[in-house]
Amino acid sequence: SQQGEEDPQALSIQEGENATMNCSYKTSINNLQWYRQNSGRGLVHLILIRSNEREKHSGRLRVTLDTSKKSSSLLITASRAADTASYFCATIRDGGSQGNLIFGKGTKLSVKP
């Protein structure tokens, strides 16, 4: 079952614009992660934010986490055509000894040159 739900399902922007994707989840989490998937390829980890963190940066990526609203956002600044891909959030639940990584359905980003 999906834990995270991304919004929007699809996003089309021009090169140079910023892209913002949102993720909502249902349970308490240990951490939330964002992944990227190019068509026909495996997923690649982008960034991990822990439940006690509110914001994290990595290059042109900025991730925020609001645990009170159970939501996260991924911002890609100054987008490039090469950023065209699907982006997924994934969560690991808090507590217990599991560590299951549960994915949402993703946002399909298209960056037009």
Partner: protein, 113 residues
């Protein structure tokens, strides 16, 4: 260059046949995930292992699917008998330990006719 290796990359089989997918996790990683990806359902977690022990296989249809880790360098996912609805891309991923990011293989694209 450490990576998760999955074999085969593509498999076409007839309904009723047994299918075995293999995964070599990154050396030293102690968590292994199996996912199934379809357009309709997205990424579904089928099984999760830590230190070769299955911790969660609740997402896996038990009557036909089985997942094992015969040793630390090999994880297998078997479907017997296969059905057309099993057609999907199956991903294996490994992680260094609980609550960390996952590294994905390139997937096995299964088509059951």
């Amino acid at each position: 260059d450490a990576r998760v290796t999955q074999t085969p990359r593509h498999k076409v089989t007839e309904m009723g046949q047994e299918v075995t997918m293999r995964c070599q996790p990154i050396l030293g990683h102690n968590t292994v995930f199996w996912y199934r990806q379809t357009m309709m359902q997205g990424l579904e977690l089928l099984a999760y292992f830590r230190n070769r022990a299955p911790l969660d296989d609740s997402g896996m249809p038990k009557d036909r699917f089985s997942a094992e880790m015969p040793d630390a360098t090999l994880a297998t996912l078997k479907i017997q008998p296969s059905e057309p609805r099993d057609s999907a891309v199956y991903f294996c991923a490994s992680g260094l330990h609980r609550n960390t990011e996952a590294f994905f293989g390139q997937g096995t694209r299964l088509t059951v006719v």
